[in-house]
C-alpha cells in the first residue's frame, strides 16, 4: 500500500510518564483508521501530535512525502500550516459566528476570493445538510447540527487528512448512529484519510476500515479489520476490550478439555490446543456464541436470568465456574434453577501472558 500518513518511532513523554512509546503506524490514502483504547492509553496524545498541538520527543511523522514533524531533522510544522481537518469532542464551533462564517473561516484565512469562498462554503454546507441554517447561530442548533458545522468547516478546504477526536461522545445514541453514517458518506465522497480516536468499541467497529487497539503507552495490541479484531482477537486485552467475554479456567483429562473443577459436567471439547505441560491455556468465549440445550452439552444450572429486551442474559453455574450466556429472546427460555447444557461453538485460547494460542 502506498502509505499516506506515516508515524515512525514516535515517542512522547510527560515528565516520567511515557504516553506514547515508540509508535509505528502507516495509514493508506482514503483509509478510515480508528485508534481504540481505554482512557489515558495515549490515543488522544497521538492524535494531538498528528495535529501539531503536541510535539513528539522522538521519531517523525510524514504525510505524503512531506515531513510534518521530526526529531532527527529538528523540524516541526505548526498546526496552522498542516492543512488537516479536525473535529473535536465538544464541537468547538465559534458561538459568535454564524454557521456560514464558521464554515468559511478556513477559506478566509487562506485568502481565497469572495466568490470562491462563497462557492466552497455553500458546497460544504450542502453536503452536510446545513444550507437551510447557514445564517443561524450555533446556540440555536442541536448537538448533531453543531457537529455537522464542525465537519463542514473541516471539509470546506478539501483536506487530505481528517482527524476526529471522540466526535460523537457528546451526542445521544440515535444521533450517533446518524452521524456515523454521514461521516462515512463524506469520506466516500471526498476520499480523505480519517484518523479517528475513540474509547467506544462499537463506534470503532461501525466506522473503520481498520482498527488499532491500544493499551497504555499507545502500545499496539492489534491492528486489523473490525471483523478480524472481533472474531480473532490477538490477545486477552483485545478480547475483553471488544465485546462481552467469559474467561474460563480449564483442566485437561484423558485428552479432553473440561471446565476446571467440573469434570462431571462433561467435556468442553476434544480439540486440545498446544500448551506447556501442566499449564493449560485460558478459554475465552463470547456469551452470544454459547448455545444452551435442555439435554447434553456441558451440564450446569441457571442461577440468574435477566430479560434485556431482545436478549436474555443468563448466568449458568458449572461447578465452581459461572458462565455468562446471552440468547435471543426468540429462542426457548430457561428459568432460574433449571438444568441446562452448554455447547461451546467458538473457542479462543490465550496463554498466561495473554497471547493468542492457535485453535487446533
Amino acid at each position: 500500500m502506498t502509505a499516506h500518513v506515516i508515524l515512525r518511532n514516535v515517542t512522547k513523554r510527560f515528565g516520567s510518564v511515557v504516553a506514547v512509546d515508540n509508535l509505528n503506524l502507516e495509514i493508506a490514502r482514503g483509509e478510515c483508521l480508528s485508534l481504540l483504547g481505554p482512557s489515558g492509553c495515549g490515543k488522544t496524545t497521538t492524535l494531538r501530535m498528528l495535529a501539531g498541538f503536541e510535539d513528539l520527543d522522538e521519531g517523525e511523522i510524514l504525510v505524503g512525502d512531506r515531513v510534518i514533524s521530526s526529531r532527527f531533522k529538528n523540524y516541526y510544522l505548526p498546526p496552522e500550516k498542516r492543512d488537516f481537518g479536525m473535529v473535536f469532542q465538544a464541537f468547538a464551533v465559534w458561538p459568535h459566528l454564524s454557521v456560514f462564517d464558521n464554515v468559511a473561516f478556513p477559506l478566509q484565512i487562506r485568502g481565497l476570493s469572495r466568490p470562491e469562498i462563497r462557492e466552497k462554503t455553500t458546497k460544504a454546507l450542502t453536503y452536510t445538510g446545513l444550507l437551510d441554517v447557514r445564517d443561524s447561530y450555533p446556540n440555536e442548533l442541536s448537538g448533531g447540527q453543531k457537529q455537522r458545522i464542525a465537519l463542514a468547516r473541516s471539509i470546506s478546504f478539501n483536506p487530505t487528512v481528517m482527524l476526529l477526536d471522540e466526535p460523537l461522545s457528546n451526542l445521544d445514541p440515535k444521533m450517533r448512529e446518524v452521524m456515523r453514517f454521514e461521516i462515512k458518506e463524506l469520506q466516500k465522497r471526498f476520499n480523505f484519510t480519517i484518523i479517528y480516536v475513540t474509547h467506544d468499541q462499537a463506534e470503532a467497529m461501525a466506522l473503520s476500515d481498520r482498527i488499532v487497539v491500544m493499551d497504555f503507552g499507545a502500545l499496539i495490541q492489534q491492528d486489523d479489520t473490525p471483523v478480524n479484531v472481533y472474531l480473532r482477537p490477538a490477545n486477552k486485552f483485545v478480547f475483553s476490550f471488544i465485546g462481552l467475554s467469559n474467561f474460563l479456567a480449564v483442566e485437561l483429562a484423558d485428552g479432553r478439555i473440561y471446565l476446571q473443577g467440573a469434570r462431571e459436567a462433561g467435556p468442553v471439547t476434544a480439540a486440545v490446543p498446544p500448551h506447556a505441560p501442566g499449564k493449560p491455556p485460558t478459554l475465552a468465549c463470547r456469551p452470544a456464541e454459547i448455545e444452551m440445550v435442555p439435554t447434553g452439552g456441558v451440564r450446569g444450572v441457571v442461577t440468574r436470568r435477566v430479560l434485556l429486551g431482545d436478549i436474555i442474559d443468563y448466568r449458568v453455574q458449572v461447578g465452581p465456574t459461572e458462565v455468562r450466556v446471552q440468547r435471543n429472546v426468540r429462542k426457548p427460555v430457561f428459568s432460574e434453577e433449571d438444568q441446562c447444557g452448554l455447547v461451546f461453538s467458538a473457542l479462543h485460547w490465550y496463554d498466561e501472558s495473554g497471547a493468542r494460542v492457535p485453535t487446533p
Binding site: F53, P78, P79, E80, F88, P95, H96
Partner: protein, 565 residues
C-alpha cells in the same frame, strides 16, 4: 421547589414581611428622591429641573462625571485586558503572585489612595514633585494631582481590577478547543486573538467595563480629595457641597435630588446594558473539563514585560501604601523621612486619646457589625422566600432586591435623609440609626445575591429527602438547609462588614457630631490639614482591612473581594 404544602398563610406572611422590609428600606427612599426632584408644591415642575440643570456648576458637575467615568472606563479596560491577557495567556513568570498583587487595589479604599497621591503629587508640597523640582531645578511640578487627569489616574488604578478579574477568569475558563480549532483551520496567533479570543471575551470585558463606569459615576472619595481644591466637582461631591454649604436649604436638597435622579437613571441604564450582554446567550464559552489553555511564549519580551508589571504594581500599589505608613510615623508633616523624625505617637494618639478618631473607630465597628448581621439575617429570609417558596407575587421581591445594586451610596444617603428626617414622624437625622438604615439599604443587594446563590446550591431533593425520612418542614430547614447555607451567610456577612467599615460615600452625607465613621474621620482630618493624623488613621484602617481579609480567608477558605467604598 418544595411541595405545594399549604403552610396556611406562613408563606404569605413571610412574603408580606419581606416585601415590607424591602419597600421601607429600599424602595421608598429612592422613590422620595424622584418625587422630590420632579414634584414641587404638589405639581410637576419640569421647568424647574431644567433651570437647575442649566446652572453652571450643576451642568459642569454632570459633564465632569461623564468625562471622568468615560476616561476611567477606557483606561481601566485597557489596563485590565492587557494585564489579564499577560497573566492568563502567556508564560510570564510568578503568575500567581502577580495575580494576587493586581487584585490588592480592590481591598484598599481609593480615597486613602487619593490622600497618598496628594502627598506625593500635590503641586507645591508633593514629595515626588519636590524631589523632581529639586533635581532639575524647575518651577513647574512634574504633575499636578489636583486635576481631572489626577482624578482619572487614581480612580483607574483602583478600579481596573474589575475588568482584570472578569477577563482573566474568562480567559482561564475558556474552552481551549475553540482556539485549537481556529489554529488547525490555518490561523496564526494574531488572527486567532483578533477573530476568536477577543470577540469571545467581549461580554466579560463589557461586564467589567460597565461596572467600572458605574462605580466611577457614583464615587465620592477621590474627586472629593483631589477635585474640590481645584473646583472640580462630580455629581456626588457637588451634592455633598451643596447640602453642607447650605445647611439643608430646600433648593440645595432639590438640586441634590435632581442630580441623584440623573445618577440613578445612568446607573440603571448601565446595569440594563450589562444584563443584556450577559444574557445574550450565544457566548457559552466555558469548558466543562479544566484543561490548560494555549500559552503564548514571550521569549525576548518575557523579562521586559515582567519588569513593566512589577513597576506598575510598585507605583500603583506599593508607593501610595508605603507613603501612608511613612507619613503616619512622621512627627510633623513636611519633615524628611529620617529615623529621628519618626514616631509612633500619631498612631497611639488617634487610637487612645483623640476623641474624634476613637469615636470614629468605635462607630464604624459597631455600625458595620450591626448592619452586616441584620442585613445577612433579613437577606437570608428574603432569599429563602424568593428561591424556595412557591408563593404568588415573588417577582416583586426579586425586583425590589435588585434595586439597591444600582443605586449609588450618595443617592441612598439622600433618600434616607428625605425619608427619616421627620417626614413620617420618625427623625433619625444625626443619629447612628440613620447610618445604620442607609447601610442596610446599600448592602441588601449583596446579601441577597450571596445567600440566594447559596440557597440555590441546596437542591430541592435534599430537603425532600429529609421530609421522606420523617422530618417536618422546619426540621428539614434546621437539619439540612441551614447547615448548608452557613458558608453563604458568612460570606454575605463579610461581604458587608468590611466594605461598610471603610466606606465614605454614604456616611459623609449622614454623619453628625458624634456619629463619624472611620472614612469620615480620615476625610475630615485631611480637610482640616491634619495630614499626619489622617495618614495615621488611614494606616490603621489599612491594617484592619488587611487583617480582616486574612481572617476571612482563613474562615471561609476564599478571598472575599469587597467592592464598595
Amino acid at each position: 421547589m418544595t411541595g405545594t404544602d399549604r403552610k396556611f398563610g406562613i408563606a404569605e406572611i413571610l412574603l408580606l414581611f419581606s416585601v415590607l422590609v424591602l419597600v421601607i428600606v429600599v424602595a421608598v427612599p429612592i422613590l422620595l428622591i424622584f418625587w422630590n426632584a420632579v414634584v414641587v408644591d404638589g405639581g410637576l415642575n419640569i421647568a424647574g429641573i431644567v433651570k437647575v440643570l442649566s446652572e453652571p456648576d450643576v451642568f459642569q458637575a454632570v459633564v465632569n462625571s461623564l468625562v471622568i467615568a468615560g476616561a476611567v472606563t477606557v483606561v481601566s479596560t485597557v489596563l485590565g485586558v492587557f494585564f489579564a491577557w499577560l497573566v492568563s495567556r502567556t508564560d510570564l513568570p510568578f503568575k500567581e503572585t502577580m495575580k494576587l498583587l493586581f487584585l490588592v487595589p480592590f481591598m484598599l479604599p481609593s480615597f486613602i489612595g487619593a490622600i497618598a497621591w496628594k502627598m506625593l503629587l500635590s503641586p507645591r508640597a508633593g514629595l515626588v514633585n519636590k524631589w523632581f523640582m529639586g533635581l532639575f531645578g524647575l518651577e513647574q511640578p512634574l504633575f499636578n494631582i489636583y486635576s481631572l487627569g489626577g482624578i482619572i489616574a487614581v480612580e483607574s488604578m483602583y478600579l481596573f481590577p474589575f475588568v482584570f478579574i472578569q477577563v482573566s477568569g474568562a480567559l482561564e475558563r475558556m474552552d481551549p478547543t475553540l482556539e485549537e480549532s481556529a489554529r488547525i483551520s490555518g490561523a496564526g496567533l494574531l488572527t486567532i486573538t483578533r477573530r476568536v479570543t477577543l470577540p469571545l471575551m467581549l461580554p466579560s470585558i463589557a461586564a467589567g467595563a460597565l461596572l467600572v463606569a458605574l462605580y466611577s459615576l457614583a464615587h465620592f472619595g477621590v474627586p472629593a480629595v483631589l477635585g474640590t481644591e481645584a473646583g472640580i466637582f462630580n455629581i456626588p461631591t457637588l451634592i455633598y457641597q451643596k447640602i453642607y454649604a447650605s445647611g439643608g436649604r430646600f433648593e440645595a436638597i432639590r438640586a441634590g435630588t435632581i442630580l441623584s435622579s440623573i445618577l440613578v437613571t445612568a446607573a440603571a441604564l448601565i446595569l440594563y446594558a450589562q444584563n443584556l450582554i450577559l444574557t445574550a446567550g450565544r457566548f457559552q464559552v466555558i469548558a466543562g473539563k479544566s484543561v490548560r489553555p494555549m500559552l503564548l511564549k514571550l521569549r525576548g519580551l518575557k523579562y521586559p514585560l515582567l519588569s513593566l508589571s512589577v513597576l506598575y504594581i510598585a507605583i500603583t500599589v506599593l508607593l501610595p501604601t508605603v507613603t501612608i505608613f511613612l507619613v503616619a510615623l512622621l512627627r510633623t508633616y513636611g519633615l524628611s523621612f529620617s529615623l529621628e523624625n519618626m514616631t509612633l505617637h500619631n498612631i497611639t494618639y488617634i487610637l487612645f486619646t483623640m476623641k474624634l478618631t476613637k469615636d470614629a473607630i468605635w462607630n464604624s465597628f459597631y455600625l458595620s457589625l450591626a448592619a452586616a448581621l441584620v442585613t445577612m439575617l433579613v437577606g437570608t429570609l428574603i432569599s429563602y422566600v424568593i428561591v424556595k417558596m412557591r408563593v404568588r407575587g415573588k417577582f416583586l421581591l426579586e425586583f425590589l432586591g435588585l434595586l439597591p445594586f444600582s443605586v449609588p451610596g450618595t443617592v441612598i444617603a439622600l433618600g434616607v435623609i428625605l425619608m427619616w428626617s421627620g417626614k413620617f414622624g420618625v427623625n433619625l437625622y444625626n443619629t447612628a440609626w440613620i447610618i445604620f438604615v442607609a447601610y442596610i439599604a446599600r448592602y441588601m443587594a449583596f446579601a441577597l445575591k450571596s445567600t440566594s446563590a447559596a440557597l440555590e446550591q441546596v437542591g430541592d431533593s435534599l430537603e425532600e429527602a429529609a421530609r421522606a425520612c420523617g422530618a417536618t418542614h422546619w426540621q428539614a430547614m434546621k437539619d439540612v438547609v441551614l447547615p448548608l447555607i452557613k458558608p453563604g451567610m458568612m460570606a454575605a456577612f463579610f461581604l458587608i462588614f468590611l466594605p461598610a467599615l471603610r466606606e465614605l460615600t454614604t456616611s459623609v452625607l449622614l454623619y453628625g457630631p458624634t456619629t463619624r465613621t472611620i472614612g469620615v474621620a480620615i476625610y475630615a482630618l485631611n480637610e482640616d490639614g491634619e495630614t499626619v493624623y489622617a495618614a495615621a488613621l488611614s494606616a490603621v484602617a489599612l491594617f484592619i482591612i488587611i487583617v480582616g481579609h486574612w481572617v476571612i480567608k482563613r474562615i471561609t477558605g476564599t478571598t472575599k473581594i469587597g467592592g464598595a467604598s
